[in-house]
Amino acid sequence: MTGKEYLRNLGEVLRDELYERDRVAAALREGPKTIPELATTLRVPAPEVTKWVMAMRRYGRVRDLPKARSEDYYRYQLAEETP
């Protein structure tokens, strides 16, 4: 059991996306990754990576790849970067 007392301040986590998105993009430039893989690469908690990836996806920086039914996780890749 985690014995967790709380999740980190939501506003802070969401703000961090604007700060961390270049690191996320750099990790995805190496190839498509699942969120747990990204979390391991970036050494940050997966719930926070989820928030960042979903925001990056919403605003066109990241897109998801199709997932086979037997797979648990979607993989995400960098959308075409605008200059």
Partner: protein, 932 residues
Amino acid sequence: MAADGAKTDYDVLVVGAGVGGMESALTLGDMGFKVLVVEKEPSVGGRMILLSKVFPTLDCASCISTPKMAAVNNHPNVRTLVYSEVDDITPVGDGAFKVRLTRKPTFVDAAKCTGCALCEPACTVAVPDEFNYDLAARRAAHIAFPQAVPKKAIITRVGTSPCSFSCPAGVKPHGYISLVRSGQYDKAFRQHLDDAPLVGVLSRACYAPCEDQCSRAELEGTVPIRGIKRFMADRYYAGHPAPEYGPPTERRGQRVAVVGSGPAGLAAAFFLGRNGYDVTVFEADREPGGIMRWGIPSYRLPKEVLARDLANITALGVRIETAHPVTSLKALRESGFDAVFVAAGDRGGRKLSVPGEELPGVIDSMEFLHRVNDGQAPDVAGKAVVVIGGGNVAIDSARSALRLGARSVRLYCLESRTEMPAHPWEVQEAEDEGVVITNSWGVGQVVGYDRRVSGVELIRCTSVFDAEHRFRPTFDPTVRETVPGEVLITAIGLSPNTQAFATELALRRNGTIEVDPETLATSMAGVFAGGDAVTGPTMIVTSIGQGKRAAFHIDRFLRKAPDDGLRFDDRLPVADRSAVAARAREHGTRRDPIPIVRLPVAERLTSFAPYELAMGEAAARASANRCLDCGVCSECRECVAACPADAIDLDMRARHEAVTVGSVALATGFSPFDARQKPAFGFGRFANVITGPQMDRILAPTRPFNAVVRPSDGKAPTNVAFLLCAGSRDEQVGNRLCSRVCCMYSMKQAQLLMGAIPLADVTIYYIDIRAFGKGYEEFFQQTKGMGVYFTRGKVSRVEETDSNDLIVHYEDIEGDGGPKEARHDLVVLATGLLPNQGAFRLFPEGAPEKDAHSYVRETNEELEPGRTSLPGVFVIGSATAVRDIPDTILHSEAASAQIAAYLKRREPKPPLPIEPASIEVPVLVPRAEAKA
């Protein structure tokens, strides 16, 4: 006039445009009544439009809602105001009401906005998306949701961020900080340059009043705003050795003279030049820059930084004529200038007015610093230097003397340590470098030996300011002390450089120029003035603000703009920094400031090279990420640049309206239960414990995620639990009512989930299933038939595993009995609905009565649905009791009929013929007959 003939602007005010409010508005509008709908959100549609599907038909919620949303927005008898609030409703007699309302500023011109949403990815501020129940981020510039009606962008602003509010020059630190945070460094520089020139100077020499106001200072320490500015300015100038632009192509054809090339004059020249005016700056000295060139030592402001800043101004076509003193403003005007801005600054230091002041070795601080900056520093090497004064100029002089090799530097001032005008950190740095500061001493006389200064006789200063905080120093003449000194630098204040204009302009007693505080217009037509010549000695950034203000009003003067009261500075009120800091404290991480690196003292004193080192990219960006986005929108204006329709209007302000209405319909809906009130269930602690409304968003086509995945790690859930009655039928949270919809929406979600993830196991933990409506029981059976597990048991708590799975502890009621536990990878709390208390606050002169559960009470819900205790005020849908969608529609129709009847009764009747002799005894007649 309204359709009922009464003298009101509208027949009905409908408060709230959820499904009930919309239905009622459309029905009444169809009947011919004139309806005003006021919705606080930026779109109509309420909560229904956020649902995935509706039970029991599993019809698409959007498909049902959007036609109604479009209809209410376009109905000829319905005026819909979104993003608006009813302030209050007061009866005005004859059954009518006066309604005051506020149309909140969206900062987007709805007539121009095409809903393209290009502002969203450009925005640099992320906040929780309330329309996705905080599951995801949205931007400050956003469209509420994809099906929003009207589909128009809005920008969330809760005031001006304190840093931006405090800048006298109107620089928006929050804006460029947000750009640095997201790695857009050149844009950050350009945004600053748009607000104020001299970016490099400010990055080195500004006293940064913004940092004093930073909300982060209430936590671990201020965001190092000036340090971040230094990073972006240095980086930009390294990449752009010359300006990116030239003079504006559109010329005004009018000429403006600027007297003085200090910060005020240069700022005015910059903004006027950018506006297409032909600007000439006249500078008496042989190099431009005023105090920035001659008054600030190079260790604080390297001259090449000033030179690069100047290039940004001259690139606009601004001419700077040096060694060109102006002695007559009248003559200047007559030489062909359409307007003049006087920014002559200070002419030098004030005198001590004590015996011995004329001795060789006594030097005014401004002259001293001028010579230092001119490469002709007085010879103080090996000498004992005494500095008199407690301001920043005194500190600069003392620190410069140390760098020139003085044997010792002692600084004496009238003020106590806490009263010193110099900034505390500068005082500390001076002491670190070896300046000995002694407080509370005035000068009695300058002592000479061999016709040179040899020391100073000091007198104890007992107080500096009087009770009104005016400068009125008092001394104890019995306490005197003489200190040795071979050089005496006096820095006790500066005099305005206005003597040349004494016969042309109205001056104040202290020699500063008298101006209109708003326009900075002087007593001479066409002549404006600002900077130290008006304010007295002040900060560079304040003088830049003066120049900017002057440019604004000179432009208006030259364009002969009407006197419409337009003001230069119309910022939104400052955001509440304490509230911001309090929000940040809620489970925020500690983020200590990254200190700015300074050279060791011994190294500093060897030259006038800058001693403060620039932040690196990583430190600057991490520092920028400490920003708390106090005002939400950062005013970076990236949305302005991105908008193809030129629809962004950050100057938009709230508008207030007052209307009269014949009746009021309260369709204020419900409040969702806050699942944090059930801490045992782990909402807010465990990422994979979500609420029913959140699950609906995940299942909706416009979901916040790419698919049905769990929030902790994006995994497609395979074993999902629904916990019914989370916060309803629960005395512990003070809500003993059944929420009526949770059973059904959980079954709906379970079915949709199995459709999305066919292999998923879904368990519903319930006390009893309440499937009471038409088709509900069949829906229940259908859900069971699909393989959803129904476990009758009361859940006591939820725990989280290391893999973010969840252990549900429950008491098994139907099976073997006793406490049990089950593992799931996602838990959905079927949170209930609570009464919305907002409606009651709308009636300052007496609100409608509440029922026992704090809903708006219907006086006779069986026979007269929707009627409240206030005649003319009606209630619709879940504002009066928890209702599902079909019941809400039904109730709103019933209430609409009541409203229509009420309005018809209000119609003026032709006066009855009066025959006094026949009316002696009152006669009771049936109500229907009396109406006829």
